[in-house]
């Protein structure tokens, strides 16, 4: 039974009071969260960090050889440490800004956007709870991460206990920076700041003088958010979530992927079939400069790290190959957008006069070329600086074959198989299915990197310090090392590419039913 009650705050005096009454109504539905819930989440995160994060961080530090790390930690100047920290924060902030363009921290329900955010109430007030939550969560996450990392360093005697305070402070600062970058990414997303006026749920702009000015483009970034932009992001994030739960990676990717609006003056020039597909990929990347730049930077960084591990004059730690394989692959996958678009379109009637297999091969040409260019630049620069042996370059270039196979498999994944959704398998099976090809490719790259490293060391080491009497024996050892590495690399490359082309064939034929 509904009974009428007099509101204790009396007549409406401000947007804050009005919003308070709205929240009271919403709270009756029992759907709104509370700070108690947030406190519980922090408690669980802290426990998780203590139980799992600290041991894992210690293991990771041990794996990357604590010796040089201790020397670096104790020998580095405060300026150098600050520069490293600033670089890491800047990278994280840039990533958060990119994420914010797709899904920002302000993510209310669609009904709240249409009925409350679209009202004449000050937008700063209506969306601020989400911002406070995101800011708080980011600061807590940063602080915990800082404490876990510095705690692990203290446990391994890499630094004194006092470093914990510095870690917490640095983590919290990074959290603030990342949260703000995330929000600014959302406000810079397409359409986010287009309309200076708030929009009512019926689509009519709010009349000037009541709420309009406070929701304009000036002032706090929260006031620059528009209802259509919030609407778009809410729909996108729900679509992505639903698609991810269904194992529909294609759907999730299409929901997250931006739609190009630039470069329309560029024209696709006619050419022969294979070449025009390559030109298509070039023009596609030019119309998506953020993708192009991030893919190139990732390939540059990844291939540089791989060169250091494979042919470093001074022994590079293991983490260089772990990170290099991950980042290099991500860069190459980013440049393989044309291949993924072909995968997205499988099952539709053929429009192009080129067989699907040939089309896929043509789509591999550009990422392969860009990867080779990046290896040449990164490896060439390191070789010129005397940090690596030039013999590492062909090996790192050849690793691109495994990455291309990974790109093929990723583009033609299709939907998750039905058994993955059985009650006995659960979410872990779905996650396992989603990450399996990437994990397999990563492990294959790591194994090949180590074998290539051994081959380069055998060749270079022998050439540098080889007594005349041992020349023949050393040549045999070098040849064995090179042949072994080549065989393994060739087998894994053929395996990955074969798996990828098999997936392409399966997906192309799947619609025949």
């Amino acid at each position: 039974m509904v009974t009428q009650q007099r509101h204790p705050s009396g007549p409406l005096s401000s947007d804050a009071v009005r919003l308070g009454r709205v929240r009271e109504v919403l709270a009756r539905g029992g759907q709104r969260g509370s700070w108690q819930g947030v406190g519980y989440a922090v408690y669980v995160a802290a426990l998780f960090g203590l139980a799992w994060g600290l041991p894992l961080a210690q293991q990771a530090l041990r794996a990357v050889d604590p010796g040089p790390l201790r020397a670096a930690a104790q020998g580095s100047s405060p300026v150098a440490v600050t520069a490293w920290f600033a670089g890491i924060v800047a990278t994280l902030a840039a990533l958060a800004w990119l994420v914010g363009r797709v899904r920002g921290p302000i993510a209310p329900d669609l009904s709240y956007i249409d009925l409350v955010v679209a009202s004449p109430l000050d937008r700063l007030l209506t969306v601020r709870p989400w911002w406070r939550l995101a800011l708080f969560g980011s600061v807590v996450a940063g602080t915990l991460l800082g404490l876990v990392l510095t705690g692990a360093m203290a446990f391994l005697d890499l630094a004194g206990v006092g470093v914990l305070a510095a870690g917490a402070l640095a983590g919290a600062s990074a959290g603030v920076a990342v949260a703000w970058a995330w929000l600014l990414g959302q406000t810079s997303a397409r359409g986010a700041g287009r309309s200076p006026l708030a929009v009512r749920s019926g689509g009519q702009p709010v009349s000037a003088g009541f709420g309009a000015g406070r929701s304009g483009t000036g002032g706090h970034p929260l006031r620059r958010l528009t209802v259509p932009a919030l609407h778009d992001q809410a729909i996108t994030s729900r679509t992505m979530g639903g698609a991810a739960l269904m194992g529909d990676l294609r759907g999730a990717r299409l929901a997250a992927g931006g739609r190009p609006m630039t470069g329309r003056a560029l024209r696709l020039r006619p050419d022969r079939a294979f070449q025009v597909i390559v030109r298509r990929d070039v023009i596609g990347l030019r119309r998506n400069p953020i993708r192009l730049v991030t893919a190139m930077l990732a390939m540059l960084l990844g291939s540089g790290l791989l060169c250091l591990r494979v042919g470093g004059v001074a022994a590079a730690p293991l983490w260089t190959s772990l990170l290099g394989a991950l980042v290099g692959s991500a860069g190459l996958l980013g440049a393989a957008e044309g291949l993924r678009l072909q995968g997205d379109n499988t099952g539709t009637p053929a429009l192009l006069g080129i067989p699907p297999r040939h089309e896929a091969i043509a789509h591999l040409a550009l990422p392969a070329l860009l990867y080779a260019v990046n290896v040449t630049f990164a490896g060439g620069a390191l070789a010129l600086a005397g940090l690596i042996s030039p013999e590492a370059l062909p090996w790192v270039t050849a690793l691109g074959g495994i990455m291309l196979g990974q790109a093929l498999i990723g583009a033609f994944r299709g939907l998750a198989p039905v058994p993955v959704f059985s009650p006995r398998m659960g979410i872990p099976a779905l996650i396992g299915w989603a990450v399996a090809p990437g994990l397999f490719a990563w492990l294959a790259l790591l194994i090949c990197v180590e074998r290539a490293r051994a081959a380069v060391q055998a060749v270079v080491g022998g050439a540098a310090a080889e007594p005349a009497s041992g020349a023949a024996a050393h040549a045999v050892v070098s040849l064995d090392a090179v042949a072994g590495a080549l065989s393994l690399l060739g087998a894994l490359t053929v395996g990955m590419l074969g798996w990828g082309f098999h997936r392409q064939q399966v997906q192309t034929d799947a619609h025949r039913g």
């Binding site: 992927g257 329309r264 006619p270 079939a273 023009i283 957008e337 009637p349 053929a350 006069g353 080129i354």
Partner: protein
């Protein structure tokens, strides 16, 4: 010539043998669908049906929703394997995995492939180039196709910037840009205004007059009357 199918309860075994036949005299025909049907988990999507068509002929497939028009077109285009029966073009089984089928048959059944990072005119250039069009005249051919549908002003738009009707015209442009001997279309008139439907009718008539074979499903009686040499009327079961 019209042929209907006898009403039988759905999800029951279909009567043996073809239930419908339409088309050219067998001697002139190049496209044969003999007793094709589709059944999924016991449910009949299409009962056994015959369809025959020759060069310069148009077969219009009509019937209420759910009678299997789109399924028939997908089978005829080689996109879907029939449960029973065969489809041949010039004596060769139709299968879109076969390059010969892809070269001979063009199908507009559902939304075709589109790249979200290419403009409308880029798409036409891509289609033309991959079918071996002379690069020297490719731009002109793309422009001519757009002008024939009166959408030349959309040349630099991205697909996601088109309205629903413009999307349909864009799909038709892609479809008409590629060479083919047999054109298979599923309700090409949908979302088009009367003027654009008239343009479409003219374009398809011209293709038929040039010797192409047309198989089209439509609910538009004007389009059907203007194009049909034969009508295959599918009925509800």
């Amino acid at each position: 010539m019209m042929a209907g199918m006898p009403p039988t309860p759905s999800d029951q075994p279909s009567p043996a043998g073809p239930a419908a036949a339409v088309g050219a005299a067998t001697g002139d025909a190049v496209l044969h669908a003999d007793g094709v049907s589709k059944q999924v988990d016991g449910a009949w999507l299409l009962h056994p049906t015959d369809l025959v068509a020759g060069p310069g002929e148009c077969v219009v497939v009509r019937g209420p929703n759910g009678t299997g028009k789109t399924t028939l077109l997908r089978i005829v285009a080689g996109l879907l394997a029939p449960t029973s029966g065969t489809v041949t073009y010039r004596g060769r089984p139709v299968d879109d995995r076969d390059p010969a089928t892809r070269a001979a048959l063009a199908a507009l059944v559902g939304a075709p492939t589109a790249y979200r990072d290419l403009t409308v005119t880029d798409h036409l250039v891509l289609v033309d180039a991959t079918w071996g069009g002379d690069p020297a005249g490719c731009d002109a051919r793309a422009a001519a196709t757009l002008e024939s549908l009166e959408i030349g002003h959309l040349a630099t738009r991205f697909p996601h910037e088109l309205s629903s009707g413009q999307q349909q015209l864009f799909h038709l442009a892609l479809f008409l840009q590629r060479p083919a001997q047999v054109l298979v279309l599923d309700e090409p008139e949908q979302r088009l205004d009367p003027h654009k439907r008239a343009i479409l009718t003219e374009l398809l008539s011209a293709r038929i007059e040039s010797g192409k074979t047309l198989v089209i499903a439509t609910h538009d009686e004007d389009l059907s009357d203007a194009l049909a040499d034969y009508v295959l009327e599918l009925t509800a079961w």
